[in-house]
């Protein structure tokens, strides 16, 4: 009897109370659940209306065959779609929600989950950046990156591109991919026709009209924390000189403004006219990236002869009986006396004026003529 009072009764009471409470809660839950669901839906819809004004009654739809899509909703009233896509940003995946109206134009975008650096990459979530997407179609023409936050901006843009692909598959329309910046035209701005050619050791190579070749090298990332390799476009002119250098896709995060500078033409144009990267200066503050680019350019220049052939200049050398010689190189005729000194320089074309030839070319012609003369003497 004592045992009953001491153990059974308390246990029974506690159990009874638990059961009553559970039953009461189950009842409450049954009553509130539909309202909770509705409230949740309303809240989720409210966040979707932000990117797709006029949308209502959203229903989840599945997207197949498109990567990097988190979720997709179709507005029941036909206003369009709200799709969330993701892409790898600077601090891991970032998610972007975009509303696409029935005309296939962006109604609004919003940065969702992300780990972008506060104050830098996070600026892609600000109105100043997101508002430029409004009204854009899938080409995203004219969208510019947040300066200093190139990686986050690129990721944002890539997420939006994925969203458009999903939209294309949902709405059953062809979606034009945004035109990637063509780095080939950056290194050969005057050339419009590029034909792909095979080149061992390069990621790709193109013949750039008659101007030369573009060699694309996948070089290891220069920055020690770079998440991947960088793509370097080297334009090689027919004379074996660098016509231009551009850095394509890369993961050189710019924690410093210097890194951003290195990737731009202001710096890269210092390669133009050189034959090797050796006398291009590194940018202090972005030495690693500078070196990475140099390595890529060097590889390209090593591969270049396979395409443009030996660029040792053709020297048309005529040696006279007395030991003097005359050589025609390009537009320049160089006269060399018997002692091996330059006696005179003229335009190769009798009627032309030497002044019309670039001084560098003249100097080079002199050097080459002398080299050829000396070679012939040695032989």
């Amino acid at each position: 009897m004592k045992a009953v009072k001491e153990f059974v009764v308390p246990a029974a009471v506690l159990t009874a109370i638990c059961l009553v409470v559970s039953a009461a809660l189950a009842g409450t839950y049954q009553l509130t659940e539909p309202v909770i669901e509705a409230a949740k839906r309303a809240e989720a819809d409210a966040s979707r209306v932000v990117v797709l004004p006029g949308g209502a009654d959203f229903k989840e739809v599945t997207v197949s065959g498109v990567e990097n899509i988190v979720e997709a909703y179709e507005a029941g009233n036909g206003a369009g779609y709200v799709i969330t896509g993701k892409a790898k940003g600077y601090g891991g995946d970032l998610q972007v929600m975009a509303g696409i109206d029935k005309d296939g134009k962006i109604a609004g975008v919003k940065l969702m989950d992300n780990n972008e650096t506060q104050g830098i990459g996070s600026k892609t979530g600000e109105d100043a950046y997101t508002s430029q997407y409004k009204g854009k179609d899938s080409t995203l023409e004219g969208v510019t990156a947040v300066s200093g936050a190139t990686i986050s901006s690129k990721a944002f843009q890539s997420a939006v591109t994925s969203i458009f692909q999903a939209y294309g598959s949902l709405a059953g329309v062809e979606v034009a991919a945004p035109e990637a910046e063509d780095y080939k035209t950056v290194v050969f701005p005057d050339v419009t026709e590029f034909t792909e050619v095979a080149l061992d050791g390069a990621k790709a190579a193109y013949k750039a009209g008659d101007a030369g070749y573009v060699i694309v090298i996948e070089a290891a990332g220069g920055w020690e924390h770079a998440a991947g390799p960088m793509e370097i476009y080297v334009g090689v002119a027919n004379n074996g000189k660098i016509a231009g250098v551009a850095v394509g896709e890369n993961h050189e995060a710019p924690p410093s403004p210097e890194t951003a500078v290195v990737l731009k033409q202001d710096y890269l144009s210092s390669y133009i006219g050189k034959t090797s990267p050796d006398d291009v200066d590194n940018v202090s503050g972005a030495t690693q990236t500078s070196r990475g680019i140099k390595k890529g350019v060097r590889t390209a220049m090593e591969l270049a002869p396979a395409l443009i052939g030996d660029t040792t200049p053709q020297v048309d050398l005529t040696v006279a009986e007395d030991g003097s010689a005359s050589a025609v190189i390009g537009a320049v005729r160089v006269e060399i006396d018997a002692t091996g000194k330059v006696a005179g320089v003229f335009a190769a074309d009798e009627t032309a004026d030497l002044a019309s030839v670039a001084p560098e070319e003249v100097k080079e012609a002199m050097d080459n003529a002398l080299a050829a003369y000396n070679a012939s003497k040695g032989a």
Partner: protein, 196 residues
């Protein structure tokens, strides 16, 4: 591994359960007077936190969630914690008397320590995996220990300090806690960059 370290140090420093999240304030202010009591209480909290997480995580993910009984979470969790504390107390008393003497006195206090319920509920809300939940609980407990030990040092000075009459006792203790909380704000942003 990196992710685990981030969760651990975030729980200890950036989101310190006491100073930044305001959990377990009662015991933080009540038991931090003496260092040995502070350490004993913290050890008991860490112990129960880990046990409670190990018990509640499977209950939620294997019983409540599949049965759509998520709304019973609060009731079940507090009961589990209360039962667990009782059980731990009995086991310690019987099989590990030295440990019981060290921690036993603090155990009954712990059922109503909101850091315990707080951490197990947060593990569910943040949808941590089991391993992540355990690490988060460990971090929460270590953060509690850190706050307790630091604050017991502060209080031994504050209690003898000459402060205005109206600030004596509770108010100055709270102001001291406020200043300590300011120092923990300095950890914001630290952890993500620590494990880059």
């Amino acid at each position: 591994m990196k992710e685990m370290l981030i969760i651990l140090f975030t729980a200890i420093l950036v989101e310190n359960y006491v100073l930044m999240k305001f959990l377990a304030i009662c015991s933080f202010l009540g038991v931090s007077k003496k260092l040995d009591a502070a350490v004993g209480m913290s050890a008991a909290v860490i112990f129960v936190m880990l046990m409670a997480t190990a018990a509640t995580w499977p209950i939620f993910h294997y019983i409540l969630d599949p049965l759509k009984l998520g709304y019973m979470q609060t009731v079940i969790f507090i009961l589990v914690i209360a039962a667990l504390v009782q059980l731990v107390e009995m086991i310690l008393k019987k099989f590990m008397p030295p440990l019981y003497r060290a921690l036993g006195v603090f155990l009954p206090l712990i059922t109503t320590n909101c850091a315990i319920l707080g951490v197990v509920v947060l593990n569910i809300t943040k949808s941590y995996t089991f391993a992540q939940s355990m690490v988060n609980s460990l971090g929460a407990g270590l953060g509690y220990l850190l706050a307790m030990v630091l604050f017991s040092g502060v209080r031994s000075r504050v209690d003898t300090a000459d402060v205005p009459e109206c600030f004596k006792g509770i108010p100055i203790t709270l102001v001291a806690a406020s200043i300590m909380s300011v120092s923990f704000m300095g950890f914001t942003g630290l952890v993500e960059n620590m494990f880059k």
